[in-house]
């Protein structure tokens, strides 16, 4: 039976760049614990000699020529999607240290 403490939930939220209200934290602790308890089921399976599957159809390292395909989309059109102000074709982000 997995159970996460409120402190653990707060730590995960910080890693995920989410802030939770105290009520959300409590609810999340309960729900995450029930999901983790459910997935403990996987420990029933012996997997010592089993290779993991990451790419299911077996493709490996697909390469293409290193060419810029600017016809798909222009950099300025992408910049226009940003909600923040732009300076010299760059997005002005909030200051990292306040």
């Amino acid at each position: 039976m997995s159970s996460l403490t409120k402190a653990q939930v707060e730590h995960i939220a910080k890693l995920a760049r989410l802030s939770l209200t105290p009520a959300e934290t409590e609810k999340m602790a309960k729900e995450l614990s029930s999901i983790l308890t459910y997935v403990e089921k996987l420990n029933e399976v012996q997997t010592d000699d089993v290779e993991p599957t990451a790419q299911v159809t077996g493709l490996e390292t697909v390469l293409r020529p290193d060419e810029i395909l600017q016809d798909i989309i222009s950099p300025d059109a992408l910049l226009d999607c940003s909600p923040l102000p732009k300076t010299e074709h760059q997005i002005q982000s909030p200051h990292a240290h306040g």
């Binding site: 995450l32 997997t47 993991p52 159809t57 940003s82 982000s93 990292a96």
Partner: protein
């Protein structure tokens, strides 16, 4: 009502000039305007642009491709240049994200003259099985407005069932095309991983996501897949494997086809009406010359748990891009960058996406990788091997799409594990990267649709279409339409 035509029927009438594309598009618009206030399947209406496009195609006057002049809806995760695309999430709905480019699927459909008329509802970033997690509110099941249409492609399925369009694009990561198809009485094709390009479609779990469609018949699904499938240089996971002529191949009979019934999909205590409908479908296949074989997929019971480690891990990684810098929601006067990120994401994401980001972040955090993600990837191998073994003995597997018909709105919203178990029959095929075709095969006594799932080996879509088409020729279920 022209919007109730199949693609094959509409194409015949367009070609012989019995109808125009403008009339066909207008019929879908009229239908959406008359029934969508009850359904909430369509979240963006692009009617003016669609009518203009139809006019251009009518003027051109050539209908060589079966999709020329055919109106469709796209799930709200398909990027379309100049058209709002929000994944039904407040993180993109606020400051409405308008992509400056087309998804490959949109591009391929545009090239043959198919007409996008708008966007269909989905659970936020396709995370859910009911559309209850959409920021636009739930879509209602056209067969019973108190029930969910399934999900996450619930808007697409409800729209097709209600004749709001001729077909609708969906995505399927763990069952998101097949389960809503089954709940709404549509045909739905979930393709082999990499059969279609994911380029320009917002990601959920990149090792599982697949691009497919909901349609009114198997023939229509075969036409659409034949148009959108194939290698794409913009998605390195697309297989460089020739695309068969699905529509031609599906017309061969199914004499001698070996169909397996996996015993793990017929559990004690399952819904007896679903059980009866699937066993009756097996009899129909037998009468068409197929052989029914009992088979076992021993690791089926671990599918849901495997998926609910792998998918949230990959989701948490994919959702990292929603940081308020390049698109979407923004917040005024942040203290610093960290405060900005945290506010954007806390305000923008809904409860299910947050829950899954949290699970994924936890499972991938220092010290837990081997216990969760790696373990799940190993069991994924075992699930895949189950299918490999099965397809040594049979050509196709026949199962229910879902354990029950459509459930009531709100039934599972407070119990995530119960909600996840609704995907138990669709998830294993997703883990194995194999194709699945959902086909209507009956109704419960309170008139709710029941769907079957046909599964085949990787890149075996042709055989599924052949079996599905043969079944539809022998039955009438797929022709039934709800009264709204």
């Amino acid at each position: 009502m022209l919007s109730s035509l199949t693609i094959a029927q509409a194409h015949e009438q367009l070609k012989t000039k019995k109808i125009s594309s403008q009339e066909l598009v207008q019929s879908c618009i009229d239908r959406i305007e008359s029934v969508d206030k009850n359904l909430n399947a369509v979240v963006f209406r692009n009617f003016d642009r669609a009518l203009e496009e139809a006019k251009r195609i009518d003027t051109q006057g050539t209908f060589d491709h079966p999709l020329t002049g055919i109106p469709y809806l796209a799930k709200d995760v398909y990027c379309e240049a100049g058209v709002p695309t929000t994944a039904c999430s407040n993180i993109l709905r606020d400051k409405t994200y308008i992509p400056p480019f087309d998804s490959t699927t949109k591009k391929r459909l545009k090239a043959v003259g198919a007409i996008s008329i708008g966007k269909a509802n989905t659970d936020e970033f396709t995370c859910g099985g009911s559309t209850e997690w959409s920021c636009y509110g739930v879509t209602k099941n056209p067969w019973d407005l108190t029930r969910v249409p399934g999900g996450s492609s619930g808007g697409s399925a409800a729209a097709v069932a209600a004749d709001e369009c001729l077909f609708a694009l969906g995505t399927d990561t763990g069952g998101s095309i097949r389960q809503p198809a089954s709940y709404c009485n549509c045909t739905g094709i979930k393709v082999t991983y990499g059969r279609t390009s994911r380029y320009g479609v917002m990601s959920f779990a990149s090792s599982l996501d697949s691009i497919g469609t909901l349609a009114k018949t198997t023939e229509d699904a075969a036409i659409i897949l034949g148009t959108i499938a194939g290698k794409d240089p913009l998605d390195a996971t697309t297989g460089d494997i020739p695309v068969p002529d699905y529509r031609r191949d599906m017309k061969q009979d199914i004499k001698g086809l070996r169909i397996g019934l996996p015993k793990e999909y017929f559990l004690d205590g399952m819904d007896p009406e679903v059980d009866t409908a699937i066993r009756a479908a097996a009899k129909t296949f037998e009468s068409l010359g197929a052989t029914i074989v009992d088979i076992s997929l021993p690791n089926t019971a671990y599918g849901v748990a495997t998926y609910y480690v792998i998918a949230p891990c990959e989701l948490s990684s994919n959702m990292a891009r929603y940081d308020g810098l390049r698109f979407g929601h923004t917040a005024p006067k942040p203290k610093d960058l960290l405060d900005y990120y945290t506010r954007i994401r806390s305000e923008g994401f809904g409860p299910e996406v947050k829950r899954r980001i949290m699970i994924g972040t936890y499972a991938l955090s220092a010290g837990y990788y081997d216990a969760y993600y790696l373990k799940a990837q190993k069991i994924r191998t075992l699930v895949r091997q189950d299918f490999d073994n099965a397809f040594n003995a049979v050509d196709v597997l026949l199962t229910p799409c879902a354990p029950t018909p459509a459930f009531t709105i709100g039934a599972h919203t407070n119990d995530p594990v119960q909600m996840y178990l609704e995907d138990a029959f669709t998830i294993p095929a997703s883990l194995a990267g194999i194709p699945g075709l959902a086909i209507p095969c009956g109704f419960s006594k309170n008139t709710l649709p029941i769907g079957m799932q046909l599964l085949g080996p990787q890149f075996g879509e042709s055989t599924l279409f052949r079996a599905g088409h043969a079944y539809e020729q022998a039955t009438e279920w797929h022709k039934k339409r709800p009264t709204i």
